[in-house]
Structure formats: structure tokens, C-alpha cells
């Protein structure tokens, strides 16, 4: 739930990057962090395992500056993608104002994407959100790989509720900001 602090003139929103393991959630945040001007950059906080897999979450505060005197801040989180951390994902998803579902476009990851998407729908419903109204966008990542499924196929299997979706190659920065812009606007429009 977004927080609007009238006295401090601040608007805070929480955006969570969700998706199966190794789909590129952390990469999205690393690219965003890398492109924030140094004078306004906060640290990217990562709670990872020894093998650099996300253990709890990555966290990046994003300051969009002042609008009509109000400072707008988004807090970007990733969830750990591995099956083992299902309850941790529930914890991180708590209080989210918007979700980016990062799908791994490779053919052999389709089942993992579907499982993760079903879990997301279940968790959001349990938190009292209405899926059709909740701000969500989808990112098809790794579209440069020869094993990537074509967008219409991914649409048919993954985007049945027809949310805005973007093709991406996060590791090269492609599609990362297009996705962020779309989810940010959806969140602001819900305030």
C-alpha cells in the first residue's frame, strides 16, 4: 500500500520484481542502479547466498524527484526465485503497490514461468488484491537467445490477463527502463 505523507510531502510506493529463478530480476535492478546519476544514487542492497543467488531480496530505493512539492520515491524489490523460498516471496510481496513479472523467454523455462505466475496470483489473492485491477506488467527476458520462444507464444501462455508486456535483454539493458516506466505509471495512476 503506497504511503502519502502529507506533512513530509512524500509519496512512497513499493514495486516487486517477481519470477522464476535465474530469470533476470536482480539484473534488472543492477541495470537500473548502474544508470542512476551518482549524485542521487543509493546503494543496491542484496541479500544473497554464497553463490550470488538471491536469498531474501534485493532492494533499491529510487528517488524520482519533486512533483508539485511532493517527493516521489519508489522502493524496488526482487524476490528470491528458487522454489525453496516460497514463504520468503510472500514476505517480500507484502505491501506491494505493483509487480513486474519477469519471465525467462527460453523454451525449457516455460513450465517454471507458469508455476511462478500461478504462485504470484495465489499470493496476491491471499493478500486481498484483485488481480485484474492490480498494477502489473510482464517482461519477457532473454529474447536474444536462440532458444527464446516467440512473443505471440509467450503471450498465449503467460499473459492471459493481458497486462502490458515488454521484450527485454536485461543483461544488455534492453527493455529494462521501458518496463520500469510502465509499472511506475500504473502505480501512480492507482494512488
Amino acid at each position: 500500500m503506497a504511503l502519502i505523507n502529507v506533512a513530509a510531502k512524500e509519496i512512497h510506493g513499493k514495486i516487486v520484481y517477481y519470477g522464476p529463478g535465474l530469470c533476470g530480476k536482480t539484473t534488472n535492478l543492477q541495470v537500473i542502479h548502474g544508470r542512476i546519476p551518482q549524485n542521487g544514487r543509493s546503494d543496491l542492497l542484496s541479500i544473497a547466498t554464497e553463490t550470488e543467488r538471491t536469498l531474501f531480496f534485493d532492494f533499491l530505493p529510487l528517488d524520482l524527484g519533486k512533483v508539485h512539492g511532493f517527493t516521489i520515491r519508489f522502493h524496488l524489490y526482487t524476490v528470491p526465485g528458487q522454489i525453496l523460498y516460497e514463504r520468503t516471496r510472500v514476505a517480500v510481496l507484502n505491501g506491494a503497490d505493483g509487480v513486474v513479472f519477469v519471465a525467462d523467454a527460453q523454451r525449457d523455462r516455460l513450465a517454471d514461468n507458469l508455476q511462478s505466475l500461478r504462485e504470484l496470483a495465489h499470493n496476491l489473492t491471499n493478500q486481498g488484491k484483485r488481480l485484474t485491477e492490480f498494477p502489473m506488467v510482464m517482461q519477457y527476458n532473454k529474447m536474444d537467445l536462440p532458444t527464446a520462444l516467440p512473443t505471440p507464444v509467450l503471450d498465449r501462455y503467460l499473459n492471459t490477463i493481458k497486462v502490458p508486456r515488454f521484450e527485454a535483454v536485461a543483461v544488455q539493458g534492453r527493455g529494462v527502463f521501458e518496463t520500469l516506466r510502465a509499472i511506475s505509471k500504473l502505480v501512480v495512476n492507482k494512488l
Binding site: M1, H12, R181
Partner: protein, 184 residues
């Protein structure tokens, strides 16, 4: 406690009057406990109010981590068939962190050193959460009366700002000025 909370309520406005009440409550707790920092967070880890002299980025990161710890312990409670773990205590060589939930919506966080007694902090924090609970009730009631949280003008300006900041998107990055808020 807040079963009547509208699931469509996507944002919560904390008005100036309620902010003052929160601030006064935290000030009192700061003096009474001799704490180093006190924070009030929402469940998502966003800082509603804080006292102490830590720089802002540190507070933001602390807020995210504390909310994560609390959310994690709530899931643990669920698995152990507990109602909830209302209180978290983290103890270091120099500092201790005491976190208590305010009606499962907000988190009161007290950071204190070994000169303050944990028992005293517990008692005073409990009293403070009762006061804050009253403020939270007012905030929720007032939010129910609001049809829109922000004006259309502010919303449009925010959307325009997002477009402006991310307008370059994935195109060339070399010519960008780092002084402007136009990142990609």
C-alpha cells in the same frame, strides 16, 4: 483488527495532524528511553517518521531490512501456528534493536545502546504502540472518507515526470548528462 479495511484501498494518506501526533509520540519515547534512533515504518518498510541523526539513505535501507525481518517472522509464526511474533529483538555488541508491531500495520523500531535497559524499552514501547494505535485508527477512518488520495493534477504531473525521466529508455546512453534526472 482492521478486517473492515477496504481491499481497494491502494494508498494511505497520513495527514499533517496525525503526523504531528506521531512525531510527539516518538519524541516522548526518545527522551524516556534514551534511544539512539526511533522509526515508525509501514509494513512495506517505508519510513513514516523517524527521530535521531542518521542520514536518510541509511534509514531507508534499515526500514526495508526491518520490514523484511518482520514479514519473515510473521511467516514463521504462521508455520508454527502462532498468531504472530509481535516483538523482535536484535542484539549486537554496541547496539540493540527492538521492533514492535502496531496493530500489524505499522512497525515501531527503537535502536538503543547498552546504557538503556531492554525491560524499560519494552514497557515504554508498549505504551507508545497503544498511542500510535489510536493515531492509526484515525488515519484509517480518514482514508475511508477519501475517494481519491491525490489530485488529478498531481497524478498527471507525476506521470509526466516518469515519462521525462525514462524517456530515453533503451536508446544510446553516451550523450546523457548526469546532472539531469534522465537516467537511461
Amino acid at each position: 483488527m482492521f478486517d473492515h479495511l477496504d481491499p481497494d484501498l491502494t494508498s494511505m494518506v497520513v495527514g499533517a495532524e496525525e503526523s504531528e501526533a506521531i512525531s510527539a509520540c516518538l519524541d516522548r519515547l526518545m527522551v524516556d528511553t534514551g534511544a539512539s534512533y526511533i522509526m515508525l515504518l509501514d509494513r512495506a518498510g517505508q519510513v513514516l517518521s523517524w527521530k535521531g541523526d542518521a542520514p536518510r539513505p541509511e534509514m531507508t535501507h534499515l526500514g526495508a531490512l526491518l520490514a523484511g525481518s518482520y514479514a519473515s517472522s510473521r511467516e514463521m509464526a504462521r508455520l508454527l501456528k502462532e498468531d504472530n511474533f509481535r516483538v523482535l529483538v536484535q542484539e549486537g555488541a554496541r547496539e540493540r534493536v527492538f521492533t514492535e508491531t502496531v496493530e500489524d500495520r505499522w512497525l515501531l523500531v527503537v535502536v538503543f545502546d547498552h546504557q538503556a535497559h531492554l525491560g524499560l524499552v519494552k514497557v515504554l514501547a508498549k505504551r507508545a504502540t497503544q498511542s500510535l494505535s489510536g493515531v492509526l485508527h484515525v488515519v484509517i477512518e480518514r482514508n475511508h472518507d477519501r475517494r481519491s488520495r491525490i489530485t488529478g493534477e498531481l497524478r498527471r504531473a507525476a506521470v509526466d515526470t516518469i515519462d521525462l525521466i525514462f524517456s530515453q529508455d533503451d536508446r544510446a546512453t553516451e550523450s546523457r548528462s548526469t546532472d539531469k534526472k534522465q537516467w537511461p
